[in-house]
């Protein structure tokens, strides 16, 4: 067991990279295959506007997934990201819409709130040894109540693209020659590159994986486990803050009380992309590919005429298969 963790954390081991590259490659192929399938099945789907819509709705899930990949890789989870996203977006938007703050300041508040709740989650898990499932379920409830409380139950319409202060909507989408250009995807790619580097080439990333593989061994080797464990949740909170901005920029109104269930899309994406639920294994590029499996399912299934019940059944089956693959892979390794 200790041996395994060493090879995993080394990050330079060839077979490890090969294997992860393999999984990422498979998921990418699945994404492409799904896209071709939906294009073939539905004339409405193979339109530029559909691609823009899929990208629009992928940003907030992708950002949450990049973030939540870190707690997942420590062997934990963060269930507060869905309601947290809505909470940070509500409060940031409240300051902009009702208190006259500049849009930029509201966005910074959204991110800072994400970081703050990341610190709380991290402390509950790393310092007080609460099970991550329980700790973040509690903060999930707290963020849900807190957001609604601050805004007094009113939906928050962040400024529209044409209104003063609406510039932030063009971070993710600009209009050029009558066409919408989804430039948000560029930022996502840049963030994925940065976080891949952080995961594979910095102490932060390598210790995150090490904690997930074998926390005790990592501690004994002199690593400040508590600090890095907290930081994994702080990274998650930071990205949830970014996701809150993406959500505010794409959707017109942010409704209090919503957000529960968003986390499952993000966690599902990360797991499909090869992040292990038991920790120690994962990649950011794989996570992004996994998110697109979820997003394509969400958009594509209605377009090929499947009704709500079938959409849920198929999404559930896809998740089961990807978790099974993860389990089988680990059993094979253990042998």
């Amino acid at each position: 067991m200790a041996n395994k963790s060493v090879t995993k954390t080394a990050g330079t081991n060839k077979s490890f990279i090969d294997r992860m590259g393999g999984q990422k490659f498979i998921v990418l192929l699945i994404v492409i295959a799904m896209f071709i399938f939906f294009c073939a099945m539905s004339p409405q789907f193979r339109k530029y506007t559909t691609v823009v819509s899929i990208l629009d709705y992928s940003y907030y899930i992708a950002l949450m997934a990049i973030g939540v990949a870190f707690p997942l890789m420590t062997g934990g989870v963060d269930l507060s990201i869905g309601t947290g996203l809505i909470c940070y977006s509500l409060i940031g938007g409240y300051l902009v819409v009702h208190q006259g703050w500049p849009t930029g300041a509201g966005m910074v508040v959204s991110i800072l709130l994400g970081v703050a709740f990341g610190v709380i989650n991290g402390c509950l898990v790393a310092l007080m040894d609460l099970p991550p499932f329980l700790a973040t379920l509690c903060t999930c409830m707290i963020t849900r109540g807190f957001g609604s409380l601050i805004v007094g139950g009113f939906g928050i319409p962040w400024p529209t693209a044409a209104a003063p202060g609406g510039w932030f909507r063009s971070i993710f989408k600009i209009k050029m020659g009558g066409q919408n250009i989804p430039i948000g995807f560029l930022w996502i790619i840049i963030l994925v590159i940065i976080m891949t580097f952080v995961l594979n080439h910095t102490k932060m990333g390598r210790y995150t994986l090490a904690i997930g593989s074998n926390k005790e061994a990592t501690r004994l080797s002199g690593v400040n486990v508590k600090f890095y464990h907290i930081m994994a949740y702080v990274i998650c909170g930071f990205f949830t803050g970014l996701a809150a901005i993406a959500y505010s920029a794409i959707f017109a109104t942010v409704q209090p009380g919503s957000g529960a269930g968003f986390e499952l899309d993000a966690i599902g994406g990360a797991i499909i992309g090869g992040v292990s639920m038991t920790g120690g294994v994962g990649s950011i590029t794989g996570t992004l590919a996994g998110v697109f499996v979820i997003c394509l399912l969400k958009t594509g299934l209605p377009f090929i005429g499947l009704t709500a019940n079938w959409q849920q059944i198929i999404t559930g089956i896809v998740l089961i298969i990807s978790v099974l693959i993860d389990i089988l892979k680990r059993e094979k390794e253990a042998k």
Binding site: T50, A252, T253, G261
Partner: protein, 369 residues
């Protein structure tokens, strides 16, 4: 030391509880006294579906206004979300324990409140249901139900939409399509509204000599009488239901319909689905004032985004319910009952609003943010 502090605190809480308990009993007596005296001064408990939504804030505005007018006191509670069914039942039980002169209830679950309603009946506390009825309530417990006639509300949307698209339908040489996005196929409100729209639209089109086929979500299609044949019908009404009640998935369903070449109009039957139509339009930019220019959009309910879209003409209009009226009528019914007058069920109106009339006095108060 810590334990002692805790003990003192707990003791303090208990004393406070006792005092509060006594206090409320006294209140009850005071209002009872008020009864026989001047015929006012009743105390009512109001339990809404969710305290955290603007729709219910509007209903509470109606409650407060009427309470002030009649000189009664009201205490208002409600859970965080409409899905918090158990919380609401507990709030209802608490309300019953206050021994009020009456309770106004907007039930989140028609089954979960039955036991509490029986308790209220045993204690002879009259209950008025508003927004949503409780069909299986114990005989005599609910004295009146005040709710939107959802079938009629859907029909209002169909009538106003048909005004704009009827010439296009009459002159069409090929099949045309009308879309409808409904949040779910389970709640009585939404399905009533959805069917109200479908039936009225079908009736209007058929009256002008064209044929209609309703396709899409099975639940709605199955309820259509004399459904036409999809291949040969002049007009298709396509019904979509998102897998979850989010704007995102509603928008995906709406995009699917709005990108079809033959689509001339679309209806989102509540706030979430109407916003879904608007979100889809951000990328598609097909919504227009007439079917010649694009797709005609109609919404339901209000909220800042929807109001802005109606004001700037992106949607030709929307239907709003009357939450203010409902809150007000619920208190009036309780008051009348306590005064010994007869009370009846009331189906409240829905209003069509568009850029022209949304500032008018009978419309504006029901357009919550």
């Amino acid at each position: 030391m810590k334990k002692k502090v805790l003990a003192v605190l707990l003791g303090g809480c208990m004393v406070a509880g006792l005092v509060a308990g006594c206090g409320s009993k006294d209140d009850g007596k005071a209002t009872d006294g008020g009864d026989s005296g001047e015929g006012g001064g009743y105390h009512f408990e109001v339990v809404v579906k969710s305290f955290q939504s603007t729709y219910w804030q509007a209903a509470i505005t109606g409650v407060d206004e009427k309470a002030e007018e009649l000189g009664v006191t009201v205490n208002k509670t409600g859970p965080n979300a409409e899905s918090d069914i158990a919380d609401q039942v507990q709030m209802l039980n608490n309300a019953i324990n206050q021994n009020p002169d009456g309770i106004a209830l907007a039930a989140n679950s028609q089954d979960a409140v039955l036991e509490a309603l029986q308790t209220a009946l045993d204690k002879e506390i009259p209950v008025v249901c508003f927004d949503t009825g409780v069909p299986d309530a114990p005989e005599g417990s609910v004295i009146a139900t005040i709710a939107t006639d959802n079938e009629a509300a859907g029909a209002v949307a169909a009538e106003n939409m048909y005004e704009v698209i009827k010439d296009t339908i009459a002159n069409a040489t090929e099949q045309v399509r009308i879309g409808e996005v409904n949040q779910d196929a389970t709640s009585a409100n939404i399905s009533g509204r959805g069917m109200g729209f479908i039936n009225k639209m079908k009736e209007l089109i058929e009256a002008d000599g064209k044929t209609v086929a309703v396709v899409g979500n099975q639940y709605y299609v199955d309820q259509v009488e004399n459904n036409g044949d999809e291949a040969s019908a002049d007009v298709i009404i396509e019904v979509a239901v998102p897998a979850q009640t989010t704007v995102e998935l509603s928008s995906t369903e709406a995009s699917n319909i709005m990108t079809k070449k033959d689509t001339i109009a679309i209806f989102g039957s509540n706030q979430v689905t109407a916003e879904g139509v608007l979100t889809a339009n951000q990328n598609l930019s097909v919504l227009a004032a007439t079917p010649e220019e694009g797709v005609v959009g109609v919404g339901f309910d209000a909220g800042a985004t929807l109001k802005a879209a109606v004001a700037d003409g992106t949607l030709i209009g929307a239907v709003t319910q009357a939450p203010v009226d409902q809150g007000s009528l619920a208190i009036q019914a309780l008051y009348d009952y306590c005064e010994g007058n007869e009370v009846k069920d009331i189906a409240t109106d829905s209003y069509w609003y568009d850029a022209e009339n949304m500032e008018e006095d009978d419309i504006a108060p029901n357009l919550y943010d």
